[in-house]
Symmetry: C2
Subunit: 195 residues, 2 copies
């Protein structure tokens, strides 16, 4: 029986952007059953007491060099978003709507692109609407549904569940109760999925 792989991510997280580029091939290689779990990283940081790396200036500087190495290895580009840290509550609720509505793959791709290649403030509802429309999706539906109490509650519940299970950042993966944090642990994750 294939392993179930839960993938908690937030579009605001550049390391989620890195990891995300590797997930399709990893899933294909391992036959894992991938479950996307949108959560709100800001809530995870607050609840866990963690702080972003750049809070320590030397860490922030090194993170730039480290990021450049990963981008080169993965053959990816990234433009640092001038609106960072974007408040991603709305786009993450949007991911939940997209999962329910059956257009998640196109939405997911458009959001990471808008955030990490197109320098867009996807936390702003009007900008989010343009991005969604640009991807050929129903922006009116999405902007309406992200205000539904059920969707709001689901994002809160995903975030609280991740914190409860030990998350303190993004991306965070689970195979059963085993947690893997960061794109730099995808190799350990893959070993687990092959076991």
């Amino acid at each position: 029986m294939p392993h179930r792989l839960e993938y908690f991510f937030d579009y605001v997280s550049p390391y989620s952007y890195l990891a995300d580029s590797q997930i399709p091939a990893l899933v294909e290689r391992t036959g894992a059953e991938l479950v996307y779990r949108p959560f709100f990283l800001g809530g995870v940081m607050q609840a866990s007491g963690n702080s972003p790396p750049a809070t320590v200036p030397a860490k922030g500087k090194y993170m730039g060099a480290d990021m450049a190495r990963w981008l080169k290895r993965y053959g990816l580009e990234l433009k640092f978003n001038p609106h960072f840290p974007v408040v991603t509550v709305k786009p993450m609720r949007g991911a939940l709507v997209a999962l329910e509505e059956g257009f998640f793959p196109a939405y997911h791709k458009a959001l990471f692109k808008a955030m990490w290649l197109e320098e867009k403030n996807v936390g702003d509802a009007a900008v989010l609407g343009e991005v969604v429309k640009g991807a050929g999706l129903d922006a009116d539906l999405l902007l309406r549904r992200i205000e539904e109490p059920g969707i709001k509650d689901k994002l809160k519940a995903n975030t609280a569940e991740a914190v409860e299970r030990g998350a303190f950042g993004a991306p965070t993966f689970y195979v059963d109760d085993e947690m893997f944090f960061g794109n730099d642990r995808l190799d350990f994750l893959e070993e687990k999925l092959r076991s």
Copy 2:
């Protein structure tokens, strides 16, 4: 011409213990000129404003699981030292003495072993003396020389230099001005050393 690889470490750091197990083979594969740079991690943390991972409880818990994965991959053992965080000023000064006196390899091996396999409080001068003696080295000489102003100043200078060059933890490696932090970046380090 081979690259010069500067390796800043502290015996108190379990990730230095992990990295250290991989360094001899890495140096042999790449032909790098290895330069051991003992520093005092406590001073680096204080000066950079960084804090140990376990300050965030969820990070501390995950670090245990992560450590177990690395130990398995490297085929190493580790016993968590009950005296942690050991104040390693004296053993790090000892590393500088050992480098000057020409018995560094035996000292280095004995200190990591005492710290991460034998649960010894190597920050205590009497315990440090026993460890050094047990390794067949001149404990009287070492305990005397670690109180020399020149040795004290050298540890402070190494620590200050690392902070100045961007360090915020251990192990930290430099190839010229390029910094690599952590055992989990040894692959990027090796790519650099092969370039």
